[in-house]
Amino acid sequence: MRKTRYKSMESRAEINRRDLLKLGAGIGLLLGTPTAWAQEAQKPQPPARPKTNIDDALKIPKTEHSLPGPFPGRVVQVTDPGVHKEGKVQPEVVNAMFEKGLKKLTGVNPKKSFKLFFDNKDIVGIKVNPVGPGIIATHLEVTDAVITWLTKSGLKREQIIIWDRFDYMLRDAGYTAERFPGITIAGLQTMDDDAASGKSQDNSRWLKPDGTHVSAGNFDQEVFYWADVEGDKEAPYLNQHVFDGKYSYFGKLVTQKLTRIINIPAFKNTGNGVSMATKNLGYAAICNTARLHRPLFFDVCTEVLAFPAIRDKLVLNITDALRGQYDGGPDGAAQFTYDMNSLFFATDPFALDMVCHNLLVEKRKEMKVKINEHPRYTEYLRYAERLGLGIAAPEKISHVVV
């Protein structure tokens, strides 16, 4: 893929606002004077959605492992209240939940399940979510269960890499070489926290003399998500995001080293939406992301996953809902966490997020938290279905509770 070969995305199907207004004006005529409609022709239009290079991704033929995988629309939820005892996660219960969920999803035992997704030469990346350590992050015990499955099925520990975008977040959440001997722990990038906070004016720990970030070499400048939005040109932005400008490069770990990915997000919200399976990769597999939040936010979770580096490697998603967080996310907010005692399994991350979104909405209602149920917060999932990446329509989703 060359940088100059991006194309704009075609217009997506949307409700025609002008038609609605015409209809409303008609009704309004029956009820009163529709003075506001007279200005309809002159009114300013909302800013257009920035163009992206999604078409480049869609042009590349799918493989047998492409999303949504062998079980589109199928989501398995395993719940066991015994997984928490005196406030501690019980590893043996997690292992049992994991095996049960995997079997229910695939219909075969763990060994055969392994062969559905991997061969013995694969380099498997386990994408965890380390944001909110101590409060809401991927439990080490869930990651242990996945590693046990992989190694029992014939994979060597050196073929497994636990990864996230930021190295320091992995450390804070307990993902260290000491805790996971023989497994590689890899952050796509580093960030100098002192410089980012402004405490230090010394940029030498993250900025090389040639003006590039020390982690720049970790990103693949041949594989990128392009969006017509500029990243901030100031040093703190570059420190955190490695590149500015309009290109978000994929990590080389994802494009060049990993052959398969297992995704283990945490069950939590981000505002009125969810920060789970699709966001755990959409905003972590690439750099230069802050620029995307405002104009494209959830669409990034669909479009980044449409690129072969993710689409053709992501084989299994396990949403860690041993604890859930229904408000205050994506950062940890302890007052909104609760024991959900569940693990979710799916090959289709979009169906998985739709199921979890709906469960989160119900929890928010139960807890009397303000909730905005605007369809925009799940529109990216329907967009993914239109792109053939997953299932979002409720009637096509099979949510199996064990």
Partner: protein
């Protein structure tokens, strides 16, 4: 109480000025105010950031500061709370000081947010508090548990997180907060609920000052539809509705009738595509939403009143 590290925030003002200009630019983009004008106004409302001594060692046996405090200006806030910075910036953010405390391997993280006003700090607290559960021993308004405590005092919003996850750290957390609160100046916020209908659902109130805070309640359209721009605030609350449901109410107080009229016109002309107008007059808009519920926007003098989740028009 000894202070291991005096925190003269005025020393960070030069650095914060850059962030202030960034915030002014953001506000200017949200509304139609020039950055220059906002730069004149913001320091007036913000005042000079106060010099506050963070608690040193000795607030509780064995606990002491771990490392130096980190100070975040507006432009660096994304580096600390990437997904949550917008809300602070929208309400008016002056600075954040983060100090970790430790006892061996056990760690607490103290986040001290200074906002431009007591109203702004209250707005953040209300947005973050959830069901309010005051913490015994913490003076002032607080909520939380042994895992995380949020506190409001004057123009400060404080969040103390127990990174070790040990419930037994609660006494140390309370002691730390008490030591800090003693050095924070108090300042009353406006009584936003004065004059509001009595049949409110307790604890349902929120403040709004722009699109990020408004979307906690409802999406009326793209961008800053009510032209709040971080400088005009409104109060939202819930009331019991039909069949056990709740209706949401929002009152926005503009500086004058002209501003309210302009905001009303902007809102009606740019209403979200998922909302179907049913009636529109010069001061009243009725619409039906994606859940087949009704909403009403009414301008009266310098106030806009919004009611949402109505079962009948």
């Amino acid at each position: 109480m000894s202070s291991s590290e005096s925190r003269p925030l005025f020393a960070a003002l030069v650095q914060a000025a850059g962030g202030l200009y960034g915030a002014a630019r953001k506000l200017a983009r949200m509304g139609r105010w020039s950055p220059a004008l906002l730069l004149i106004l913001l320091p007036v409302t913000a005042g000079a950031a106060s010099a506050i001594d963070l608690p040193g060692a000795g607030f509780h046996p064995g606990w002491k500061p771990a490392g130096k405090a980190r100070i975040y200006a507006a432009k660096n806030l994304y580096g600390y709370i990437n997904g949550g910075a917008e809300l602070f910036l929208e309400f008016g953010f002056t600075g954040l000081t983060v100090q970790r405390y430790g006892r061996g391997e056990e760690k607490l993280s103290l986040d001290l947010y200074e906002m431009v006003s007591a109203d702004a700090a209250l707005a953040v607290y209300l947005a973050k508090k959830g069901e309010e559960r005051p913490v015994a021993g913490v003076t002032g308004r607080s909520t939380g548990s042994a895992w995380q405590i949020a506190v409001l005092k004057g123009r400060h919003f404080i969040q103390l997180t127990n990174l070790s996850g040990e419930e037994s750290h609660l006494p140390a957390m309370v002691a730390l907060l008490q030591a800090l609160l003693a050095s924070l100046p108090d300042e009353p916020a406006r009584d936003w609920l004065a004059g509001m209908p009595a049949e409110r659902i307790p604890g349902s109130e929120l403040l709004v000052a722009g699109p990020y805070s408004l979307q906690m309640i409802y999406t009326l359209g793209e961008g800053d539809l009510l032209q709040l721009g971080g400088r005009v605030m409104g109060v939202a609350f819930e009331r019991p509705g039909a069949e056990g449901k709740r209706t949401a109410c929002l009152r926005v107080f503009y500086p004058d009738t002209t501003a309210a009229r302009a905001a009303y016109a902007h809102a009606t002309a740019n209403l979200d595509s998922y909302l179907s107008p049913v009636y529109a007059g010069s001061d009243t808009l009725l619409f039906k939403d994606y859940k087949q519920e009704y909403g009403r926007i009414v301008r009266c003098d310098s106030t806009i009143r919004i009611e949402l989740h109505l079962s009948q028009p």
